[in-house]
């Protein structure tokens, strides 16, 4: 035992080896730890994924009647199968979103935010890494169970390109959603209670983001409004790309997500700087 201790006091090793890889490795490790944390309760994880079965069953009944009543094979370019696969992807994204704004505003309110600041990492990136770790597993679960159900109802899913394009867009969608959540969470510094903002944001996603209904079914004017708002690019963008994986559409989704990320991400950055100073001054 003594020899091991002596070896250590000699100060060999255990020195910081800074590099870009080490910095990236840091956030990867945070992501990985959150992933392990979510895996600690597999039954809970499965339970959360079962909700999508109920939603898909309701949607199937609703849209079968709608399609039957119009007598058309497709509405606004989407068949019943397209619509169901679209809704499955939309729900999978929606249900696996990490409730960051709630966590963050709780941390701001009870002061525990301070205890996350005693380590060498960026606070915002720390939260993004944990959020992603949480979302990835939930998304996986929702996707597997949701796909199985929808496959049984309307037949096989779109081709491989749909999956690949949708996954790429989902990562940016999470990032955009993360920025909105962070903005709402950080607003707790000013308003203390953020539940109202969270509620409004949720409803915007449901209605104008395309969770309940593909935006293509909206009247023209409402479609224009929705597509010019960021919410569509969190849900509608990836889900529509899933059922219609064209390169043009992929470019359009990426462009919109990029623009909104710059805008909302910039706002988070500015707001975080101010909030951090405020925290440092007013205390946790």
């Amino acid at each position: 035992m003594a020899s091991r201790e002596v070896q250590f006091i000699s100060d060999e090793g255990c020195v910081r080896s800074p590099s870009a890889t080490a910095v990236a490795g840091k956030y990867w490790a945070i992501f990985r730890t959150q992933l392990l944390n979510s895996l600690a309760y597999p039954v809970d994880l499965l339970g959360r994924s079962l909700l999508i079965v109920l939603f898909m069953w309701i949607f199937m009944n609703l849209w079968r009647v709608t399609y039957g009543a119009t007598g058309a094979r497709s509405i606004a370019g989407l068949t019943l199968a397209d619509t169901m696969w679209y809704l499955m992807m939309a729900e999978a994204v929606m249900l696996s979103k990490h409730e960051l704004s709630e966590t963050m505003s709780e941390q701001v309110k009870d002061g525990s935010v301070a205890y996350l600041l005693n380590k060498p990492y960026n606070f915002i990136l720390y939260h993004f890494a944990t959020g992603l770790g949480d979302s990835v597993l939930a998304f996986g679960g929702n996707l597997i169970i949701g796909s199985a159900v929808v496959w049984l109802m309307v037949g096989p899913p779109p081709g491989i390109a749909g999956w690949v394009f949708a996954f790429l867009a989902v990562v940016l969608a999470w990032l955009l959603d993360f920025c909105f959540s962070a903005l709402i969470g950080l607003s707790a510094f000013v308003v203390e209670e953020t539940a109202a903002f969270r509620w409004i944001y949720q409803k915007f996603l449901l209605l104008l983001g395309g969770v309940l209904i593909p935006l293509d079914f909206f009247p023209g004017w409402l479609q224009t409004i929705s597509l010019n708002l960021p919410f569509a690019w969190i849900i509608y963008g990836p889900a529509r790309l899933f059922v219609d994986p064209s390169l043009v559409r992929l470019g359009q989704v990426f462009l919109q997500q990029g623009i909104w990320l710059a805008v909302v991400g910039g706002a988070v950055w500015v707001f975080y700087r101010r909030a951090a100073v405020r925290l440092a001054i007013n205390g946790g």
Partner: protein, 331 residues
């Protein structure tokens, strides 16, 4: 070399105030009232590298606020502080690589995961190379006797076991200064003892300086050579623990028993008689006024002694006496 310097540090918080009831709520909405709370009022002290310094005070004395300022989490309202040459609130991330901190009431280990997972995560956060990290974990596991615990989910550990893991985790990156805020809170006597021994050993082995806050004077007595006592954000005492004892542990209590009956007017000059029974008595005296020797010989001369116990107040009693004294002085 000096590890921590603090000069005239002040911290004032703005707290929202609201009267009770609906009317109070409405008024607060219309015209919010704020109250300034001075958590830290002009603290000055220094800590040498490798020193074990105790920092004690009652709830709300400003201990945690000071620790938060020293880790860079909080800005002071005024005053200066450096930790290992860094101004904490200006160089928080750089400093974080060189200091470790444990907040007894805020666990850092991931609750649902084995401690080993958090150790690995912290290793990555502190940018340690894998080989170094594994060696370091093995070393700390042995030093803290937690080898058997590392694979168990943290929620299944006892508080004492968890706290040993917490402190071990905070030493992973070999910090030069460790800030421990109430590490022994809620621990039983045995767990406390074990934690103290380990902290002491690590400090000797690696020369890490420890600033320790605690409610428990026993922690300070066991670990620290020097102590700072704070109350209402101010330092009320700052010296060696031994000097504190010498200066304040002057009141002795004596329990004496005789083989024969005592006279009803039993007593000694300069000694206060607290209680007299048929065969025994309880007495108290202050060594500054009455030396020990005449008291003991007086007791022996009074009859055939069966038993004598001389006891002194605990460090805890002394510290509460100091608080009370400062309360009366300030009040």
């Amino acid at each position: 070399m000096t590890a921590i310097t603090v000069h005239n540090l002040r911290k004032t918080f703005q707290m929202k105030r609201k009267a009770a009831g609906l009317r109070g709520s409405l008024r607060a909405l219309w015209r919010p009232a704020y109250q300034s709370i001075e958590a830290v009022r002009g603290l000055s002290f220094a800590m040498e590298e490798g020193e074990l310094l105790g920092f004690i005070g009652p709830n709300g004395a400003g201990k945690s606020t000071t620790i938060k300022i020293l880790t860079g989490i909080l800005h002071p309202s005024s005053g200066e502080a450096t930790v290992l040459g860094h101004v904490p609130w200006q160089q928080r991330q750089d400093l974080a690589f060189q200091i470790g901190s444990v907040f007894g009431q805020r666990p850092q280990l991931w609750y649902h995961l084995p401690a080993a997972d958090t150790f690995y995560l912290f290793g990555k956060i502190y940018e340690l190379a894998d080989a170094d990290l594994h060696r370091r974990i093995a070393f700390l596991a042995e030093a803290f006797e937690i080898e058997e615990l590392l694979e168990t989910p943290v929620r299944k550990l006892s508080l004492g076991q968890r706290m040993r893991c917490e402190v071990a985790a905070s030493l992973l990156h070999k910090p030069r200064v460790l800030l421990l805020d109430e590490p022994s809170i809620g621990l039983d006597v045995v767990a406390k003892q074990r934690l103290r021994l380990t902290i002491q050993r690590m400090s000797e082995l690696e020369g890490v300086g420890v600033l320790l806050t605690s409610h428990d004077a026993g922690d300070i007595e066991a670990l620290c050579r020097r102590v700072i006592i704070v109350n209402h954000g101010e330092i009320v005492y700052q010296d060696k623990v031994s000097a504190l004892k010498r200066r304040y542990l002057t009141v002795k209590t004596v329990d004496v028993r005789y083989n024969e009956q005592l006279p009803a007017d039993f007593g000694l000059p300069g000694v206060e008689t607290l209680k007299v029974g048929r065969y025994g008595a309880k007495l108290r005296f202050d060594t500054r006024e009455t030396p020990v020797e005449p008291v003991i010989s007086g007791l022996a001369a009074a009859g055939s002694l069966a038993d004598v116990t001389v006891s002194e107040p605990s460090l805890e009693d002394v510290i509460s006496a100091i608080y009370e004294r400062t309360e009366t002085e300030s009040g």
